[in-house]
Amino acid sequence: MSRGAEAAERRSAVPFWRDERVLKLLGQILFITLVILVAAWMLSNYRKRGLTFSFGFLDEEASFDLAEGLPFSPTDSYARAFLIGVVNTLRVAGLGIVFATLLGLIAGIARLSGNWLVNRIASVYIEIIRNTPLLVQLFFLYFAVILNLPGLQEAIMLSGPIYLSNRGFAFPALRPTSSFGSWWPFLVAALIGALVLLILRRRTVPSTGRPAFNLLWVGVPLIAFPAIGWQFMRGQPLILDPPELVTMSGGVMRIEGGTIFSPEFMALLLGLVIYTGAFIAEVVRAGIQAVDKGQTEAARAQGFTQGQILRLIVLPQALRVIIPPLISQYLNLTKNSSLALGIGFLDLYAVSSTMLNQSGRVVEVFLMIMASYLSMSLTISMIMNIVNRRIQIVER
């Protein structure tokens, strides 16, 4: 029988309304028509209100002020306002991720400590933080703690000079001077030197079989190159700019110089770090517990110290379990930074909502918000997935 006849016979055997392939295709077509119809209905409602869709407003004058982050004046455009919001979000999310990881690592290890008191402190911290909403914590931190700090007149002065008051947290800043331009090549040289040494060090054991040199040697070019460069410069390429309390006319005080974290920034950063830290601690604990007990026992039998066991045996293996859930905690932290709106920190979200109220461009602004968060999420997961792959390869 020819192929055509065979197919014809099969077709005749099953009527098309019971043919699974036809049904599946029809089902999908029906579904997508339904989706398109609903979308069209919604769009027509949108049009009926006389609304249009355009991103032209981005070039218009924003005519509001932003007191946080990069310099901004009311005559700047909406686009620049949005950019400042994005930068502020990145700043708080970046710092937050670093500090939350540190806090989480410490708390997670403490949670497994053999010391009963340390263990209790860590678990009380984790339980309290995980079982209360982040926004309540942020409100508490901002309204009850940070705004209740002493005013500038009696600011808490730590050595350094570092000022802590209800106007924010001020600490010395490093500022480049005119000679920085001819000094930075030395910094690049230092980084390259350190990188070369690191690569050499990693290759020592596989190629020669002898133990590698001490890690401290990598620090030598890092310190030596910039120091040599410093000698050749006229004047200092970097100066330390400490904050200073200045009394203005009329007894009003303000802080000049240095870097200042605004109270809102402090509250948000602190809140995010404490909150995410507790979740990361649980991730770390689960990761460490996933490492076979035999590994620890074998290491101890070979005479490793407690610290060495943790650093050389347990953590590298635990890392493989830790990294995937850690990624989602980083993503959560970034998304949670949008709660800034509740305490008045001008992040991407808060700036957008001002833009939205002023321009009335609801849909456009929302698309921009979504695109920003989605691209941040994608970037974080991409970076962490690369890290993850590198770590997983070690597995035998």
Partner: protein, 353 residues
């Protein structure tokens, strides 16, 4: 006569209180150091907290506003309706909790049915009917506030998101490309953006896309947002449950002659949904905490009430008391639920089969 060997008692420093102390607190010199430092830390924190709670805090702000915290602007003369609803829920929770170990099917079936009935019943009881001489006067959901609103948002959010979530999960695992792509796109978009942006969208954007005749109140809009958001997470949980069902189940059901839809409804979903109960409880807890975000869109849940209370003139500057109270309230609810769900996980024996 055989000499009875002398039984030596273990040294005093190895057993009892001393032994415990030595093992857990002073095993090495750095552990001893850690113990001393943590001891000082705990003493300092506890002393500060206790003196504040007992002496310095002005709890009158909580006691005078207690009703407001619980039911907010719900009319006081109608408060019994909230209490009755709470009673129904508590009764059902207790019955469910007691019957979790029984294999008595009719009992459990009745429980499921009464849960299903109670939710709309409570909705009607709380909202009442419009009309002049109504037996239950109308209390519009737009004036529901306080803990009542928090609970309503969380419960409706999780219950209403469930069917949508199951559909999305099935869609994501479907072999039909269009349905799969659309479901995946929805789930990943929602999971990639913060809840607050979804809430704002439902507040501001939703009305623009609906015909002017349909007017949703702010609470209804917040509920829509919550549901749409929560559905994406439910879908991921359910998908996890579906993935855990062995292939043999599908194949056996197909071999018996069930078509694909029946395989799903009769064989796979019942097993998968049972396996995801703990994950759903976890999701409920985080949704319960996330309801606080409605403050930012101007609703008065517990936190919104707290913020409003600190704005009153006679209670100005009492942020610590008010927010500490809100935190304790949430802590009690969430901690109880997470402990209960851990128990539930053990009795369900999920992951053991």
């Amino acid at each position: 006569m055989a000499v009875q060997p002398e039984v030596l008692k273990p040294p005093l420093t190895e057993v009892g209180l001393l032994g415990w102390l030595k093992k857990n607190l002073f095993s090495t010199w750095y552990n001893a150091l850690l113990t001393i430092f943590s001891g000082i830390f705990i003493y300092g924190v506890l002393r500060a907290v206790i003196t504040w709670v007992v002496r310095d805090a002005r709890w009158t702000v909580i006691t005078t506003n207690f009703r407001v915290f619980m039911i907010g602007r719900y009319p006081p003369e109608e408060a019994w309706r909230v209490l009755v609803s709470l009673g129904i829920v508590v009764l059902l929770v207790i019955l469910t909790w007691m019957s979790r170990k029984t294999k008595d099917n009719p009992m459990q079936r009745w429980l499921v049915i009464s849960w299903l009935i109670s939710i709309p019943l409570i909705g009607i009881l709380l909202r009442g009917f419009s009309g002049e001489r109504s037996f239950l006067p109308l209390v519009s959901e737009d004036i529901w506030s306080g803990l009542l609103l928090t609970l309503v948002l969380a419960i409706v959010g999780i219950v209403a998101s469930f069917p949508l979530g199951v559909l999305l999960a099935l869609g994501r695992r479907s072999k039909l490309p269009i349905i799969k792509v659309l479901s995946t796109a929805y789930i990943e978009t929602i999971r990639g953006v913060p809840l607050i942006s979804v809430l704002f969208m439902s507040q501001l954007m939703l009305p623009l896309f609906l015909p002017p005749e349909i007017r949703l109140g702010t609470v209804m809009r917040a509920l829509t947002g919550m549901t749409l958001f929560s559905a994406a997470y439910t879908a991921e949980n359910v998908r996890g449950g579906l993935a855990a069902i062995p292939r043999g189940q599908y194949e056996a059901a197909r071999a018996v002659g069930l078509n694909e839809a029946l395989v799903m409804v009769l064989i796979v979903l019942p097993q998968a949904l049972r396996a995801v109960i703990p994950a759903i409880v976890g999701q409920f807890i985080s949704l319960f905490k996330d309801t606080t975000l409605v403050v930012i869109v101007g609703l008065l849940d517990v936190l919104g009430i707290a913020k409003a209370v600190t704005g009153q003139r006679e209670f100005i500057g009492l942020h610590k008391e008010v927010y500490a109270f809100a935190a304790v309230l949430f802590f009690i609810c969430c901690f109880t639920m997470s402990t209960a769900s851990r128990r539930l996980e053990q009795t369900l024996g999920v992951g053991e089969r």
